[in-house]
Amino acid sequence: MPEPKNIEICVLRYHPEHDPEPAWRSYQVPCTDDMSVLQGLQHIKDEIDGTLGFRWSCRMAICGSCGMMVNGKPRLSCQTFLRDLQPGPVRIEALAHLPIERDLIVDVGEFVNKLEAIKPYLIPREPRTLAEGEYLQTPAQLERFEQYTSCINCMLCYAACPEYGLNRDFIGPGVIALLHRYNADSRDGGQAQRQPILNAEEGVWSCMAVGYCSEVCPKQVDPANAVNQNKAVSARDYFLRFLAPKGAAP
């Protein structure tokens, strides 16, 4: 085992049953070079203070559970290493902009409601039976949307988004990226059904094009790019509504 040295981890604690407001607490954690922030928190929970609350599962940056603010930046704690934060102290808070349920645990329900609202499933362009086999899709067609399929719903981009900080009705970068994922899929024909959501006040036009969402995204989804592409679509859609009579093909 590598020789551990101590690092100070400060956690913004909050328990709705007895705390009037969040408050910082500090812990000394033995730390080796290969330890993640998540492992640091697990050490606190296991050995020092079992009341600390945080979500985690996979430990490998794929389940999307463990997002939090690490020294003021939205990060996956399982993918952030204490060695890069030496000499400390390391400051850990719940993801910004989201309601805190307890300690580092934020409300995910609002995000999931938005995700559900955009019809995040294939609405086939042409029906096909199982006996007919798979839809054909070339690697080039796949590439057009593949990056947007990589979103792990970690919500780091929401914590990064200044517009979402001001207006929690904004559907936000991650969900727009998912919407774009289906619209850009060669098998899908549901764009018209999803368009009203984008055009609405809480849709793409809320975005102030800061781009911090893409910077913090741990999976290179580039949600800002999805938002931008859809601003173009949304503008065209708006324009066409005046040109083409309803129901006519553009």
Partner: protein, 598 residues
């Protein structure tokens, strides 16, 4: 107590639970479904599966070949009629996933691509880059949103099943955010809670993979079948156990010892050729590869690292471009977690616990020997994995048997009424009191983490890659001691809102029960088969005595009672399990024999 009433309740919203829910909703929208999960569905551990899902696809492949690979891979402890159904349904399920939008990797002509996988004779593993489980899980979750009859109970932790009048009639769950209880009454229940890898120290599993559903069924008298069979995956990250998918080897990666030698050729897996040949060398089955590591370590031919002895997974010859295209997540893991650029240096790896072959005893239609109860996915022992699972069969299993469980549970639900509310309510109150008692324990007891660590270490010591009676007995004794100490487990947190320590304490109880089922089943099996390998005079397979499923029955406060049940053999008589050149010869001989009979 809050009460919800549905037709079918599903515990677990990973691949298996979601597939079951969709099957019910599609076939009969009038049936109400409760989908209960202790995490949001997309956090379920299916998300971590990397390599792919098997289904016969190419023109030169046959169902017969997939059947034989699976049965021989399982060292003939598979239910052969169930395997036959499984291989027959697999392709249709892959196409169904494609129709639901799963971004399968493609060939230039637009068809889904397949890759090689360990123990599979012909390339038949569908994949979505190296994030297959992630894409399957998100596709299923997002597709499930279409169906209004599926009512989700996200972040609800199931603490007990309600069994009344000889059949399961619902379950009790804690709503994690409030700490309140919710009784979910149902005509039938499907358990789809995943594996139990967390009973071992070094493992590839997420923190939530704690065998809950297995323990729930077990406590209500349902036997756990073939629990001694636990799969070690040969290529994991030292320290954390995180997985480097078998696809690394499917793409052509080598395993090297400290001399840079492809040591697998010394263990009946050769000849060593520069490109991968299916069912040979690095593409041999996982049990054989993990065992070879153990021998190399004993011979002093491994390398010492900060977290133990390692061998090298060498991907350098594949080149950065191919690695980034075919194994992007592996690339990222190696760079970020280990500081190793796999295009420039070999990756240090060692075996870690990966998969529980056994599980809740189920017939070929997923029904447990308790009326109204069904199981699917890794928690279930429907009979396709035998003594060793082949990689990429389990993602397919989630789909094939998730669907079957949904259909069967729905059919059963139509035939029975809801039970008497007063009786069910009373049972729920008792279960609630038991769960709350943990919160009321006096302080000064044992710490959860201490017990968990001792259990996991003991399981590794006694039920690892190679086993002896003495070491297994020591583990059984240790587990009995830990069960005693568990009664004094103490928690710091006595509040209700998001009390994760409380849930950890309940999970530890599940883990200990499952650990006992594993250790006692292992001790009782006096032979070597698949992943269960003994060194103490039982080094051979013994079909005369042990071509049988083990069944672990919960037995009050004592250790489990172990019984045995028959194995269904249809077409494939137990033969020699051989790989590499020897395997090809054995295959040819088998075919010649079958031609004579045909």
């Amino acid at each position: 107590m809050d009460v919800a009433e549905v037709d079918v309740a599903i515990v677990g919203a990973g691949g298996a639970g979601l597939r079951a829910a969709i099957a019910i909703a599609e076939s009969d929208p009038s049936l109400s479904v409760a989908l209960i999960s202790k995490v949001y569905p997309m956090r379920s551990h299916t998300v971590a599966a990397e390599g792919g899902a098997a289904a016969v696809t190419q023109a030169h492949d046959t169902l017969e070949a997939h059947f034989h690979d699976t049965v021989a891979g399982g060292d003939w402890l598979c239910e052969q009629d169930v395997v036959e159904y499984f291989v027959g349904q697999a392709h249709q399920e892959m196409v169904q996933m494609e129709h639901w939008g799963c971004p399968w990797s493609r060939k230039p002509d637009g068809h889904a691509n397949v890759r090689a996988f360990g123990g599979m004779k012909i390339e038949r593993t569908w994949f979505a880059a190296d994030k297959t489980g992630f894409h399957m899980l998100h596709t299923l979750f997002q597709t499930s949103i279409r169906y209004p009859s599926i009512r989700r109970f996200d972040e609800h932790f199931c603490v007990d099943l309600i069994v009344e009048a000889g059949r399961v009639q619902g379950l009790l769950a804690i709503e994690i955010a409030s700490g309140g209880f919710r009784l979910i009454r149902a005509r039938s229940v499907i358990i789809a809670t995943g594996g139990a890898g967390r009973v071992f120290r070094e493992n590839t599993n997420g923190g939530i993979v704690t065998g809950d559903g297995m323990a729930l069924a077990y406590r209500h008298g349902v036997p756990l079948r073939d629990m001694e069979f636990v799969q070690y995956h040969p290529t994991c990250m030292p320290g954390t156990g995180l997985l480097f998918t078998e696809a690394c080897r499917g793409e052509g990666g080598f395993l090297l010892n400290k001399d840079g030698y492809r040591y697998l050729q010394d263990y009946g897996l050769g000849p060593a050729e520069p490109t991968p040949r299916n069912k040979a060398m690095e593409l041999g089955p996982r049990d054989r590869l993990s065992q070879a590591y153990w021998h190399e370590k004993r011979k002093g031919r491994t390398l010492s690292g900060p977290h133990g002895e390692v061998v090298h997974l060498d991907l350098r010859h594949l080149g950065e471009k191919r690695l980034r295209e075919r194994l992007p997540q592996i690339y990222e893991l190696a760079v970020q977690y280990l500081g190793v650029d796999p295009a420039a240096a070999p990756i240090p790896v060692l075996p870690a616990v990966h998969y529980t072959m056994g599980g809740i005893s189920a017939d070929g239609l997923t029904a447990a020997p308790l009326a109204g109860l069904y199981s699917a996915g890794e928690c279930s022992s429907v009979g396709i994995h035998g003594a060793n699972r082949l990689g990429s069969n389990s993602l397919t299993e989630l789909l094939v048997f998730g669907r079957v469980a949904g259909m069967e549970a729905a059919a059963y639900a139509r035939t029975v009424p809801h039970g008497a509310p007063t009786k069910i309510g009373a049972l729920a109150e008792e279960a609630r009191a038991r769960a709350l008692a943990i919160l009321a324990r006096p302080s000064g007891g044992e710490r959860i983490a201490t017990l968990r660590r001792e259990m996991a270490q003991s399981m590794e010591d006694g039920c690892g890659i190679y086993r002896t009676a003495a070491a297994m007995q020591a583990t059984c004794d240790k587990l009995a001691e830990l069960q005693q100490r568990y009664r004094r487990v103490q928690i710091d947190d006595r509040s209700r809102v998001w009390n994760t320590e409380w849930l950890l304490a309940i999970e530890l109880g599940f883990l200990l029960d499952v650990a006992q089922a594993i250790a006692h089943s292992a001790l009782s099996r006096r032979e070597s088969r698949g992943s269960h390998q003994r060194l103490d005079g039982f080094a051979e397979r013994d079909d005369a005595h042990f071509l049988k499923h083990s069944l672990a029955f919960h037995d009050g406060d004592g250790p489990p009672r172990i019984a045995y049940g028959p194995v269904k053999i249809t077409r494939s008589q137990p033969g020699t399990r051989a790989y590499g050149a020897a395997g090809e010869q054995a295959d040819a001989e088998r075919r010649a024999r079958e031609d004579v009979h045909a």
